[in-house]
Structure formats: C-alpha cells, structure tokens
Symmetry: C2
C-alpha cells in the first residue's frame, strides 16, 4: 500500500509508492529505451490495460473494446489507491497517511501517436473535456482534496510509454507548491483586492514582450520569473478558479491554443520532451476570487537544470522575453 509521508521540516508531503518499485539494481541512468513493439494504449489492445473508468465511444461500441476516442483507465502502477480509509498516524516524530487517492491514465487517442501537438484540435478538445469530466466525477469523493492533471511527453520528461497519454493524480492533501501558490495569490488579494493572475494578464498584454500568442479568451506568455528556458503559461482571460467549471466553448478554444503553443515549442526547440501541468484549485474550496486556473508547460532541456532540482534555486539562461519573441515569430 502506498503511503504519504510528511517532511517534518518543510511540511512537504511525499508519496512513497513501493508498488511501483523497481529493485534497486534495476535503476539505470542511461537513457536508452527498448523499442516498443506492442502498445497497450492502442485501439484493439484494450485488454492490456485495466478495465476502463470512462471512455468517449462511437455509437455501437462496448466498454473495453475498440471504438473509443478518448479512454480513461486506472494506472497499472498507481502512486495512490482509491480503496481504504483516510487515516493519519505518527511514526516516531514523523507523520504518515495512508496513500489514498486516485491515479488514472487518460489515453489521448486510439491510434499510435507519440506527439500530442500532432493530434487534430478536435481530438485535443475531447482530451481537455475528459479532464473536466474526471474532475467533476472525482470531486464527489470527499476524501479526495487536490487534483493534479499533467502530461509527460518524451522519455526524458518521464513518459514510460510513447503513445500520447495524460495522467491524473488526486491527493488527500494539498501539495506544498500548490499551497505556496495559493497563499501568495491570497496574500496579494488580501492587500490589493484583485486576483494576481488577472493583474498579470493585464501587465503582460500591455507590455507585450513576453506574449507568445493571444486568442479571444486565452493568453499565452512566458512568465516574468520563468524557472526554465521556454517555460510557457496558458491563462484564461476570464477569472475562474476551478478548471472543472469550464464551459464547452472555453475548451474548444483552449484546444486550438494549446495545440498552437505546443507546436511553437516543438519548432523552437526541435521537438523537446516536456511536461504540462494543470494548476487548479483544491476540491474542498468554492469559487475563489484569489486563484485562477492555468496550464504551465515546461520543456525538459537536458543539461540545463542542474542542482536546481534539489535546491529550489533556478538559473534560467534564456530570458522569457527572448523565448517569447522566438515563439511569436513561428508561424503555425
């Protein structure tokens, strides 16, 4: 059973998930990967994954068979498990919690495609709508507090299978970085009476030099204090704290914007591995004036980040203004 452990110094929770464990001797720092001959995520191979939780299916198809467009299954090696009671206990001076939560995999497309940005916008739209549907559903479980929706694309970004997929982890605690973000935004709101993200949208569209692109309802920019070269955020112009409150029209537009942003990154950095993470509010909060959902895209450029990973101190060699200018000039 996985467990959540709290760092007694910083308060950071960590998932210790030995079910996912390799044996210590199995670690290999090389980046070589075996060629994939069989893909468990491809249409027709449904039985290779666990029984589906939900899928968008064509008329006449049946669960766990072909005929789906987007399909959500439990992670085969879950970091957290849905069964069990929410229970915290002490171990010596430390705090531990049972590793309750959800860990799902969203198969973004039925055919074998390894680049999310290559999918038609209409397919991306369905994936984004699946995020919405899963959050709405999981929110009903009162033990679950915070949803993390993310994508790892490319081996160096942590993807273990190349077929496009997204992941969803819902934790029974609020992760420390989310806590910090929300606390910072709340402090700003307390002082100014405005959402800091709304202020950033105004600032960025006015300054213009960090803007990558704009659509009627979204703005894409490289943040002023970008931690990583070509770090890119997608922020809805309309204030909304919870992603699960998006409307279909928002998602239609977001699909085009996300695809374009990823295509620009792909062309700028020669098809980099990347992660994107949906930043949204915890389930146990209700319409927050101080927080604003958004997507952060982080290309993983080998050799750029060194000790930052362990120290929280970032050195970025590409000013966000330069990255944004470069991406602005790329025609999609």
């Amino acid at each position: 059973m996985p467990e959540l452990r709290k760092d007694p110094i910083t308060g950071r929770w960590v998932i210790i998930a030995p079910d996912r464990a390799k044996r210590p001797t199995d670690f290999d720092a090389s980046t070589a990967r075996p060629a994939e001959s069989f893909c468990p995520f491809c249409e027709g191979n449904e039985l290779a994954s666990a029984a589906e939780i939900v899928a968008y299916r064509n008329h006449g198809s049946v669960p766990n068979g072909p005929g789906w467009r987007v399909r959500t299954v439990p992670n085969k090696f879950p970091a957290l498990k849905v069964e069990g009671q929410f229970e915290s206990r002490g171990v010596g001076m430390y705090d531990v919690m049972e590793g309750i939560g959800a860990h799902e995999v969203i198969l973004d497309c039925p055919h074998h495609e390894s680049r999310f940005a290559s999918l038609p916008a209409n397919q991306i739209r369905e994936v984004l709508w699946m995020y919405h549907d899963r959050l709405v559903d999981l929110k009903r479980d009162r033990r679950l507090i915070h949803p993390l929706v993310f994508k790892n694309e490319g081996h160096l970004a942590g993807a273990s299978l190349e077929h496009c997929h997204s992941q969803l982890i819902v934790t029974p605690v609020v992760p420390i970085q989310v806590q910090e973000e929300m606390r910072g935004a709340k402090d700003f709101f307390g002082w100014r009476g405005r959402c800091i993200y709304c202020d950033m949208i105004r600032e960025e569209t006015q300054a213009g030099d960090r803007i990558v692109m704009e659509s009627p309802n979204f703005v894409v920019f490289c943040p002023f204090a970008a931690r990583f070269p070509f770090e890119t955020w997608i922020v809805p112009k309309k204030h909304m704290s919870h992603y699960e409150t998006v409307q279909e029209a928002d998602v239609d537009e977001l699909a085009h914007v996300l695809k374009s942003a990823l295509l620009k990154l792909r062309q700028s950095l020669d098809d980099p591995p990347y992660n994107y993470i949906l930043h949204t509010s915890p389930f146990d909060t209700y319409e927050l004036k101080s927080y604003h959902w958004h997507i952060e895209i982080i290309p993983r450029l080998t050799g750029v980040a060194g000790f930052e990973w362990g120290s929280g101190f970032y050195i970025n060699s590409v000013p966000p203004e330069d990255a944004a200018e470069f991406m602005r000039q790329i025609e999609i």
Copy 2:
C-alpha cells in the same frame, strides 16, 4: 548582466543569466556529448580558466601554474557577478534585482578524474576545507547573503565538464527552499525548544532502519520523507548551524564519511549521476539554535522523476528503509 527576478506569486527568486545563453536553436534534448579531448581543469592547463581566486599549492609553485592540489576559479559563465551595486527596482508589477553575487568553480583535483568518490579521502578533505575557506572569505562581503555549495557529477546531473569540480554560488537573497527549511526548523524550535535536526538524529539512530552508516561525529541516513530514490543525508551529530565554523577534525572525518556514502551509492545504483548540496545558514545570521548544516545527496535516476520537477509533488518508488538497508549491506 544577469538579474534576479522574483515570482510575484510564490516569492521565489530566479536568476535570469543571458550571458550563459545558448541561442534557442542550440538546445538539444539528446544526451550525446562530444568526447572531451582537452580538459581545461587539468593541471598544466591553468591558462584555460580564469585567474585563480585561491589554490592550495605545493611549495615553490606559483599562482595560475601547475603544482596545485585544489584550485578555485571564477565561473567562466557566471550566473551572478561580483561587480555592481545591490539594487532592487520594479518592472511593471514585478521586482528585479541586479544579479550580484559570486559564482566560483572549485577544481577538486589536479589530475583528470571524473568520479569524486575515487579521490583519496585526503584529497576530499582538502576540497571540504576549501568550501570552508571560501565561505569564510565571501562572508566578509556584506552584499552576499546565502551560499550554495554543490556538486553536479555526470552529464545527467548537470555537469558540463567531467573533471571533478564543485561549484559555489552566493546570492544576495535567501533562496525560497532555504527559507522554507529555516522557517520549518524555527517553528519546531519555537514549539519544542529543540533543533529538529538534532531530534532527527536521535530518532534515526534509535529506529536504525534508515541509517546508512555512522561515524563518531556524523550520521548518514535516508530521510523519512525522501523525495528521491536513495536520497541520502549526512548530518553532523554536534549542533552547528554554519558550515564555515567546522574544525579541521570535523572535516577529516567528514571526508571519509562522504567518500564512503558516495561509494555506497555508486555500488547500489551502478555509478549514478548525482548532485550533492551543502545546506547551511545564511551569512547574515549568527549561530542559530534552530538550524543545523548538513549535506543532501540526490542520485539522478532518469525516468524516475516526471512532473515532480514542475509541481513540487514527489513520488518515490523506493522506501528510504529499503534504500538504507541496501546501502548498509555494501562493504566499502
């Protein structure tokens, strides 16, 4: 000129150092590296690096010539620069500071060796003593606030040259992760009246299952809430908040302990790339009862960390008890 930018939401400072910049098109996510034919860090090639700041030299040798044992030079591509005034200004809604600070490279040995753990303990002792000497010296500059001493070993850990070297960055602000650590430790002290690291040493030596090794004055263990597989900490048993107050006897012993810990990691994980980071108190504090210097070693196992990098949420597939047991059983 590099600059420090503050994330307006979290308060995190980031160094934007365009002097280090590659052009956007120069990024390459592949891990292939050109073979190194010429090593600027080897004895005899002193002129390939900037003029030395200080070196431990054999009798009769002269600065910037051969005959040194450990040698400190300015980083050729510094993330921060010593020249300039400490000056903060606003840019729209954001805060910027001139990128003042120090960025030095410590050449750990004169001959070409790529594995720090392979150096004799006596050589490691001199490197650890160099850390001490540099901190004592840099502390006299009142503009400099926080020292980060670290080592990247292996390309995947961010090392750009393979010849063993350490780095030292001194920033004019306290990095956010250090702030969090110190705040957590201070809160604990405020509540219990004890140093949390001293408590952890007691807890760990009593529990025993996360101990990797012990020496008279140091304890090496995998922390309870380890973020990474085989994350390993070296903590002095004696309470000391500032590394620069170590005595020669401490450093003699630490050299043996650090070498052994790294050898155990090397054997456990088949020579992994790794980072280690010296956690010590900011220069502008005086003997803190709540903080305790220590070294954190993080092996960089490809494919293990995914979105954690960007979200601050860690999933560790190897319980620290298993990692510690594995390392305990390795005979050095």
